[in-house]
Symmetry: C2
Subunit: 420 residues, 2 copies
């Protein structure tokens, strides 16, 4: 087998551990340098390939590459760019193949969620059509945990740990002040379509009745009256109520709570996310003093409180992608399989990309309590292992020391420029 | 000196390390049990004394008391209750003295901010007037860092570390996506009157030009045009702009940005905090895609990322309060003094409460850069030591293990009830 170069790109929303996957790819490729030449990373994801902006990862020291394992977000840049349909417009795919050809790239590692699995699959198909051999392997990544055929997605365990820990800590705050101050606290978390991230808030509870008292999932139609009654009952019983709300929580007709907004005393529509909209209900319907937090990017970049299990798995899927390629595989996604053991254990698996593309995995109904406001023991059994272990980054002067890459671009070989 | 009991109460907004001060009080009192009897904690702060709801801390194991050192928020409950003016209505003070007398309480340790320093001072004065001897010592606590005569306030170092780390992490996220996605990220932090917490965001920058690019302080009048120009210049230069905004940021006339709001296309006023209001300007004035986060209670309860320096100081001020009492002192606040050494060092000091009460310490102008959007080297020199060191809580199943107190109430001795 002739030695060929590899291309690696990060896609979509970044996570606390996507760089650990990059580290797994680069270190494993390096360990097989008789078979794999350079690892080029796309500057800002797939756009880097289209623009022929390839980062030469061999310019980084081994120490810097190793530091990627504890560095959050996308060290090479990521992007939100969905390739056009090949039959509608083959130009993007033709450009990719031209760039790959020019730089003798034989391996395509694409690190992302559902959309990128689809792109990765198309690259594999089209390389055949265009007669340029390339092995395309998908490396899963998404905080949303909504990819099918993998027990869980790297990136999710760390955001889950952040949400569980933050819910626990904020709940203690509210509990200690509720007698004279805030009665209701709302934490808004990510998850536009699936409630996995919100469900992780449930791990803050040690026993029944512990906060969070209410979790709002996109999978369960929001019933305003039932919700308000539950809040009122909870405050009467405990003195306070903690709510974890998914940004995707919605009414039965599919209207997001965030978009529904509410109307003030003058009939003006109030805009806002889920948390401020719910907070407004607290005030207008129940008269409770409230506070709310919006974790936003903090939750998916919080490498300081990453799950050790997640870091380990993120590295492992990157490593496995290279090993799959060396074994001659293509058009597959690396997956994580949970072993059927009593104690949590996992192994690397694989799935044909044709099956993965554009399927979203929602929370199963039996992971959500009967009243729709909490998680079941089944959910807890699934979630708990994913947040196990702490993997602290090194600190200097009180601040985490994250990798700072040089990101040196490879000299262009194509005359043509490509507008993205 | 006859052996007498002590009363300890937590006051106002809680912090990640106020329980470390409680731990310092209880453990130090225990070490002097020949002089101090029981330590009673007020259930929900001073209200617990008024209601004669006293928690017997001797019912907790030594292990649980030690665990307070790594437990955030107020383990005995806190409250927002400002005592009435003695000359207007002496009933509350008379009640306090009656409860202290009934339970043979000779030491009053009050753990809070400016308001509680005032209350503590009054208790000292009134105990003399009413002829019941009690030594009142104030233990400083506030995330706002706005108490005078102390170099810094326990609770601040940890929120500062949280804000610095979160700003650093979220900035990496924005940087990696800005080519095709979010251009402006806004983090709203606490600090209604003083910009100390917002200033800590500046510690995320290693060198000039690093994010955060803009900090908004309550001390600097908000100039909308200057602000928008700076955002635009920053995005043009770096591709993105990170903003840390104090909730107290305000216009020259004292109108909070949060209250000023903005008006939508229909002329309706949009409500919200600083962050959503600034975000709205990004959209309407500059057309940039934005994201924003509101840390709210997460920032002050984040014991998982507490500053080791802060934890140590919080414990030390609790310990010193007991030692002050044993040395016969009263009507004083324990303070933290920065030594004039090259390497950061500190020691315990004291200040007469008469001087402390109701004075707020703002950011000095020379801590804020000339353009009003950043911190100076002087500020950095002041802030950096306060976030030094990590002091991780123990974890079980991926979740921090915080102290769970029994909070057993002492039997009431007074027939009269007191309505608060």
């Amino acid at each position: 087998m002739a030695k060929r170069n590899a291309f690696y790109a990060q896609s979509g929303g970044v996570t606390a551990v996507i760089n650990a996957s990059a580290c797994g790819v680069i270190e494993t490729a390096h360990a097989h340098k008789n078979k794999i030449g350079k690892v080029y990373a796309g500057k800002n994801g797939i756009i880097g390939a289209l623009r022929e902006e390839l980062i030469d990862t061999s310019k980084e020291s081994a120490k810097t590459v190793a530091a990627l394992k504890h560095t959050p977000s996308g060290a090479f840049g990521s992007c939100r760019h969905k390739l056009k349909n090949f039959t509608d417009d083959p130009s993007e795919y033709e450009r990719l193949i031209a760039v790959f050809k020019a730089h003798d790239i034989g391996y395509f590692f694409y690190n992302g969620g559902g959309d990128s699995a689809d792109t990765c699959n198309k690259v594999a198909q089209i390389s055949e059509q265009l007669g340029y051999p390339i092995q395309a392997i998908h490396i899963p990544k998404t905080v949303d945990n909504d990819l099918p055929f993998t027990d869980n997605c790297p990136g999710f365990g760390s955001v889950a740990k952040y949400v569980a820990v933050s819910t626990k800590e904020a709940s203690l705050d509210v509990a200690s002040m509720c007698d004279t101050s805030t009665k209701v606290f709302i934490l808004e978390v990510m998850g536009r379509h699936a409630g996995w991230i919100a469900s992780a808030g449930g791990l803050a509870a040690d026993q029944a009745g512990d906060p969070p008292h209410i979790i709002l999932f996109p999978e369960i139609a929001f019933n305003r009256e039932k919700f308000l009654k539950k809040v009122e009952r909870t405050v009467k019983k405990n003195g306070y109520c903690v709510i974890v709300a998914s940004e995707g929580a919605q009414y039965k007709d599919g209207t997001f709570i965030a978009d529904a907004g509410t109307t003030d005393a003058f009939g003006h529509k109030q805009l806002g996310g889920v948390a401020p909209t719910l907070a407004d209900m607290m005030k207008s319907e129940l008269g409770y003093k409230y506070h709310w937090a919006l974790a936003d990017y903090l939750q998916r970049s919080a490498r300081h409180i990453a799950s050790a299990t997640d870091v380990e798995q993120a590295y492992a899927v990157g490593k496995a992608a290279v090993e799959f390629a060396l074994a001659g595989k293509s058009a597959v996604m690396v997956s994580i399989e949970r072993k059927k053991s009593k104690k949590y254990a996992w192994q690397i698996g694989e799935t044909a990309l044709a099956d993965v593309a554009n399927v979203e995995k929602m929370m199963p109904r039996n992971f959500i309590s009967r009243d729709g406001f909490g998680i079941t023991e089944l959910a807890r059994d699934y979630l708990a292992p994913l947040i196990q272990g702490e993997d602290y980054p090194p600190y200097k002067n009180g601040i985490p020391q994250y990798a700072q890459l040089k990101n040196v671009l490879v000299e262009r070989k194509l005359k043509a420029r490509f507008k993205v």
